[in-house]
Symmetry: C2
Subunit: 140 residues, 2 copies
């Protein structure tokens, strides 16, 4: 498997409104999208830097992964998501190498395949996700 | 000021050899460069994902910034560096907005200008750097 580029980076933040202000005011980023993901217990502000998305994420419940990350380590980069040639092939290759993965098979959203592969404990503090290279960000 | 893309991301790691193995073995990244930066008390492995560099950094002394980051928060993303139109203009604009900056004027390396602008405490856990858009990575 070969990661070819970074699709998105997620930053766990304590207060989304304050974080938005910082990133918009300091780096001049323009808000592209804002949404709540109930299943993941987060609310999210998404920005684009070229074809890379930067997401600011605030926990909506203390038992979600983002809340737990902040409780343990403070604010910071929670996840990096890499584009790869083929998620399914990549997962098989990693399994054959004897890697313990979070997802054995790809998840799917709007026809796009992705998988969480390694928890922060195994990739130097950052949850690692892979996507199909053809993955299309929802930009509306 | 407007950040237009991410130039590089630095990951503070406890053991560079182990971290290299993880990122090369799991994500198929190819080592582009390895160096020691005595002044910053780090040794570094650099990888490219398109035009974005991912740097793994191990502290070479317990009193450097990377060592302190790991001591306080564990391994993780230590710095994100953004390309901007003009670092000097950007710094002036931020000062006029009343922002407290790490660098008031650009630093220079191999003719490239860059500046550290905000410490992790003010940008949700990540040290923030800006570069001139024309900044060229040393790829030899």
């Amino acid at each position: 498997m070969k990661a070819t580029s970074i699709d998105h980076i997620c930053l766990a933040v304590k207060n989304l409104e304050q974080a938005k202000k910082i990133y918009e005011d300091t780096l001049g980023l323009e808000l592209a999208q804002e949404y709540v993901a109930e299943s993941e217990k987060i609310k999210v502000a998404r920005y684009y830097l070229g074809d890379l998305a930067l997401e600011l994420m605030e926990a909506t419940s203390p038992d979600g992964d983002v809340a737990k990350f902040i409780e343990k380590r403070g604010e910071g980069v929670f996840l990096i998501s890499y584009r790869t040639d083929d998620v399914e092939k990549g997962l098989k290759e990693l399994k054959n190498k004897g890697k313990k993965l979070i997802d054995d098979t790809p998840r799917e959203l709007f026809g796009n395949r992705y998988a969480f592969i390694m928890p922060p404990t195994e990739t130097c503090g950052v949850l690692t996700e892979i996507l199909d290279g053809t993955y299309t960000n929802e930009k509306d």
